[in-house]
Symmetry: D3
Subunit: 335 residues, 6 copies
């Protein structure tokens, strides 16, 4: 087993009017490539990790641009396939203060949704892999994505790889005839590390735990009870939010112990998308380099600093994140 | 009487350096079309109302662009005339934090100022009209605008239309030899609904009421005493402002009763222009759909959310505004 | 029968890197709304015609923006429906000189492709209609679009409406299992005016006429022979093209007579998309206002001037086009 | 008499949609300061001359920005006054190829139009002056501008200053009740150097000379006959123009001798505005530094190179212009 | 002695990705000219003072642009020399909230670093000078800059000019083999007014005073003890900073008396660079126009308002600053 | 010997005002990374070759961005070192038509100039290498660059690698005390393939051959005579240039045979920089895939199409280039 981190998921394009404009006021769009698992991959690569991303993109200049972007992080793209369907994308009208952000998706018939499981040789794709990361988005997109992922998880489990999951349930997915909760539960059962909280557990198990500390502990216990492969549960909480300000905090249930981080405040929020992915990347990096508690603090700092960067991806180095973790308020200029 | 809302007023172009730049630092300008009454019209049309706007624009490609913009809301533009004078415009250097915004106007010799009263057949223009809205800006621009408006108000009064007014007095207008207070008082006397507060009442009546709750009530009573056509008084208050943050609140004196809304906080302020117009539009929409108290709450929420949108116009739907009214902090992403 | 022109077709969004950049060099996209039939509609509305466009857009802020854009021309949008599928779009890398332009489409599973024929009451939709315009793009997108269009054509034929068609065959469409040539022939059989040339006729009839004048005349004769509803054939030719320069010419076969226009040269070409649609709009306008020969000259001038305008749509007035038709070289400034 | 060049004229702001867009397609405007006489002043200052500009600007941040811009050339701005009227401006939709450019003005009620003759102490303003330059635009704007200019011309004549004029007649000016031809003739009578051709002479004298070489010579003779103060006539001709390409040539009638320059071709044209002013500046610089024939060649090269620079002003050094004059095709990179 | 203020220092170019982007996300840079002493000069010129700046720039179009920019303030640039080395510059990634800003310099081998002392005739350069301002940046750049400055200080001292200094020590300078503390101490000994606090004094004297009020007073006493030419010590303090918010305060030790200003809060911070220079400029203006306490208050207000302006330079007038000093919160629009 | 292509040279940043603006008219710069050898590397990688680039960049976020950019092509960056000196850069004012482009460099004290030869293990760096490419720019920058390159050339020669050179002599380099001609001759003596023409040969050999066909043949013979390692000579010629149009042609002297390509015309030229590098990359690709004559044709087509792409790098695929080579005029849209 090597030290490569493998991620699997859609490469998606974000299109957004500049500034605080609504789309009707715009003649141009800023665009960013991202995707929840690619965001994790990119952040880990930026921190110096060896990373491979598996996906399927469009066989046109849009797909080429996406792959070129992924390569710019030094991520291994050899297992990204191409097909004749268009790259998934979404439009974002970024909110501000009391105005919420709005997203319109165009992803359910794209190149990722139409991937072909047989195109991925999972044994080769997971060669040298220490961590395999997946999220609840992928299996919600299409049956093909679900089946491909499941194949990967089986292989990874057999190879004894750490499997981390952010099993977010999104109600605007799951249009292909499967029950999201059932499938997420099935796939989580291959995983060893759960990055999620009470909502996610309730969704998967059909439980109704409360979201306070006690609820989180009970939910985590129940999760481990029902899905024994899960070794650790890490959760991020957001408090006191408007579209322009945010407080972040991490908490965890590991080896029958609860711990949590301090609150970090971010004001103003530059970009809210991908902050959960920054948390996941920070956590994986932390687990590879620190103990569990420091890993959680690092993850929370990574989540906080991502709020200051436009686009889906956390461009910060581990050193930048450590500074935030150690209390830097940002009010200096590094010359 | 139909359910059309008719507005009358200048279509004005805003030109503004991008970001927080001062003009000396800029080589380009963002531009927006607006105008206090058009802002009301556009917001109402966005919320689904049937709206007609009456104005006079330049007979060149600038005027054509303005009309095209107005049509994009589905607003009826058949009563917008054209003449050989240039479209009114203003330059805005947007402030920030402790730095105030600055405006330089170029409107006193424009196409609206030079409109010809005889070009508007008010009976046709008000056909099907339920609400007619005007503000104190129009009569301050030129004698022609004043006379045209007065003609419209007379006709509307005869037709039994609700007449709403935001009779703001601006000292940088009224250059054509008339006394603003006198004329505003005259025109308010045709109106049924007063959108304004102590300052406006003092200006019109020559009184000196204080701006606290008691002062507002007494001023409103005095207004109704002197101008019996006024049935209701609705006021917006702004508290604790810097150029980048704002608290908004509504209060009203209706049927000898005082009521007020909660405070709403907006931070950061994206754009301060047109927030009063968003209030007026919210109020008219509210009065057409809710009771007076809910209408005021809706108007206050409309005012708050407008602070998050660049340009003069509130692009939010009634649903968006209801969310703010019902306490949404904006910290979600609507997918 | 009124004088309304009705168009039917997809509303599509174009996304394009600014300047001559390729997508890999860009972080932003300019966007334009268009669509071959909407381009015809918009140009006709700009020239002062009464126009109605029929389509189906996404039920999200992207679709709303598209409808708002269409309204800005004063086009009647009441027959544009909404559904839960995303708006069709395409990416364009604009070429230059020896470098060809490239397009990547995302339209085959969009809101237009998923329209529902039963949602359009064609008798109402064609009320007051003098001209109904369709192109070969629509039936190539999906079975639903084909069937909806066919329904419309039947109704229009029964109502005695002029039916104009630009039956372009595009090989990157027709993925839903139908033979494009067969269907185009079927649909052309409802039409009265054919805007196309030898290529289109060969495609539909399976013939192999040459593209010179003699071939055009023979192909036109054969077309009228096989499809007697066709009264007139109008064609545009492009000569000597690079990505940055273009010559345009019109020719026609009407009442057993051939005529053609002078060549018009455009250098540099600002935008090549929508120039055929500008020709079609110019032709329809011309037929409504001039004799056939002048109509063709007007159409050719409209085609030429569109090459100077970014985006899909010809923003020029009839007066602007007449100037080009009458030999203006563009080297003046109109003050 | 010193070597200062004094210019008098409006400072005007140009607002223009970016690229080839029409205004309806834009949300922003590029802006430039200019004005026909200021363009001459700026070009001369860029070439190293001592220059003073006399004007009146708005007393707001727009006027301040204009003055700051003028200062950036090192031009003496001490005789620029301020008043409460807005700065003159115009909107430009730049044409391309067969599409002509369009301009919409807003200048007839601005700060220059409302200048006060008594605010300029012409003896001081012309102190140290060798050349005084004026154009036919200024007296067309308002009676005040006309009278102020006339006062300046009288003083300059008395001081024995060279007076150069580009007496262009613009039909969209002269709205204040005076006959343009009469006034231009009156003002030209103070001048010593005529920068204009057959059109200008016909306009002023009411003659009908043809624009060929013979006509130019006869017109020049007639001009000198009727207005003996004129010592030299210099003319620029434009041949074979589209909105995107241009040929320029200079010709002159000096001391009863005709001479002309070679043709210079510019393709593509970046900006057509201010090319005549670049010619005038080149001519004045040439007359101060070279003989008459070389001055004309220099002026023609200055005119040509200005076509490659956006905005109203020729930013090229004398060395840059000499290179064009000496046949440089521009196809090198100066490292 | 006249009333000219003379500044000496590098003209440096700032290049910065737009918005909150990191450089990897950008294809373009905003640029600004500045430089700590030029920032002081520009602010003073904007407030109406007579200012001369002494520097050395590159002999290419970059240097020309810089000089043109400086001229736009009306600053006397006759003593700015040119040489064949490139203009100094730096890249800035602007931080936000918890993310600190980052700067990468390219200045140590530029035109200022390579200036030639013998190229400046200091007696002429200081002719008419009342205040001469220098900072600790200049002598840190190169031996040449140090020696040129020292020469200027000697001359200024002999001429009895007020010499103000902001002797900031920057560890990323001083690469040419000299000890920064020693040299700063030497140069401060020519100065009469010290704009700096405990950090600067400790750096120069090798002391370890604390940064509280008591420490500031003791440090100031010690400074005056060791460097008797210093008559007054003015300090700015920053409290409670993130990259997006700031509190500013001024304090002083003058004639054995301590005084301080109120705190001013700025939120959000638009730009942090040049706020110390705005303080220095405000102080010099204040000392020329007010008493010492009011000068300090004015300086603190100037520092606060600069935080709202992008770029290195404070574009505010004295009137703007007085409004902030007198408590304006910025929440108005000045029409 | 593998099939890797190794390039060695500076990574340089281009900063350029947008559009046709001169720097004085700009507040922002577009930037591109490039460098003559990196341009060759990037183009080859885009065409699918395995490429490694060797350089030294700044140890800051500018250098990181450059490396990230290089990675986006999939180029191996493991042999790019970092040091504390800034990344080299240049400013470009792009010309147009008769106006020439201007460049101002800042590279002579940058990270590449200050590289340390001992930091490169050339045997490892050239592992698997088939072609090693260098140009005359590198040894002109600094003694360190010269020595490092010479070390690499020796090693490559020993390893039997094909060594290609574009030995351009630039007079604005060679400031470190060496004679450019001598050193270029020395370094060319290690090379096997000469990409250059009469100018380069004359520069190196001190000869004075004419640049016509006969001169080229004689110069090539003389070159092979004096430097027998040279096996083939390939040259590109540019004819009839302005800043906006260009004709390109290739010619060669291989195995005592002369051949040349057709002329290709590019109008308008989007970007002139890097077109020679596109030729070199096309040639190397051609030699690896075609015969010599076809390789030259391919190189010429690559050179032509690069003129249509902004920035230093040719983003075209081999397929794109083949189309141009086979006569495509660019006037199509590839859907």
């Amino acid at each position: 087993m090597g030290n490569t981190i493998v991620t699997f998921g859609e490469v998606i394009m974000r299109l957004s009017p500049p500034g605080n404009r609504v789309m009707k006021q715009s003649h141009e769009m800023e665009f960013f490539f991202g995707g929840t698992e690619l965001n994790v991959a990119s952040s880990l690569a930026t921190m110096g990790c060896t990373v491979r991303h598996i996906s399927s993109v469009s066989d046109d200049f849009v797909g080429e641009s996406a792959v070129s972007f992924i390569k710019s992080f030094g991520i291994d793209t050899r297992f990204i396939t191409k097909n004749e369907h268009p790259l998934g994308l979404y439009f974002l009208e970024a909110g501000s203060s009391v105005r919420a952000s709005r997203i319109a998706y165009n992803r359910l018939n794209g190149s990722f949704a139409n991937m072909r499981a047989e195109h991925i040789d999972w044994e080769k794709a997971l060669d040298g892999c220490e961590y395999f990361h997946w999220t609840g988005i992928s299996p919600g997109i299409s049956a093909a994505a679900y089946e491909t992922l499941k194949e990967g998880l089986k292989t990874a489990q057999e190879m004894g790889i750490h499997i981390t999951t952010d099993p977010a349930y999104r109600s605007n997915l799951w249009k292909y005839g499967k029950n999201g909760s059932d499938i997420l539960k099935e796939l989580v059962s291959y995983s060893t590390l759960f990055i999620g909280g009470v909502n996610e557990i309730n969704e998967i198990l059909g439980t109704q735990f409360s979201s306070d500390q006690q609820g989180f502990i009970e939910a985590s216990k129940e999760l481990k009870e029902q899905i024994p492969s899960i070794q650790k549960v890490f959760d991020k909480i957001r408090i006191g939010v408007t579209a322009s300000s945010q407080q972040t905090q991490g908490r965890a249930w590991v080896h029958d112990q609860y711990f949590e981080t301090e609150l970090l405040e971010v004001n103003p929020v530059v970009d809210r998308i991908g902050t959960g992915d920054a948390f996941a990347a920070g956590l994986i990096y932390g687990l590879m380099n620190f103990d569990d508690e420091k890993a959680l603090k690092f993850a929370n700092a990574a989540c906080a600093i991502k709020h200051t960067i436009p686009g889906d991806i956390n461009y910060c180095s581990a050193e930048d994140i450590l500074e935030v973790m150690n209390g830097s308020s940002g009010g200096r200029i590094k010359r």
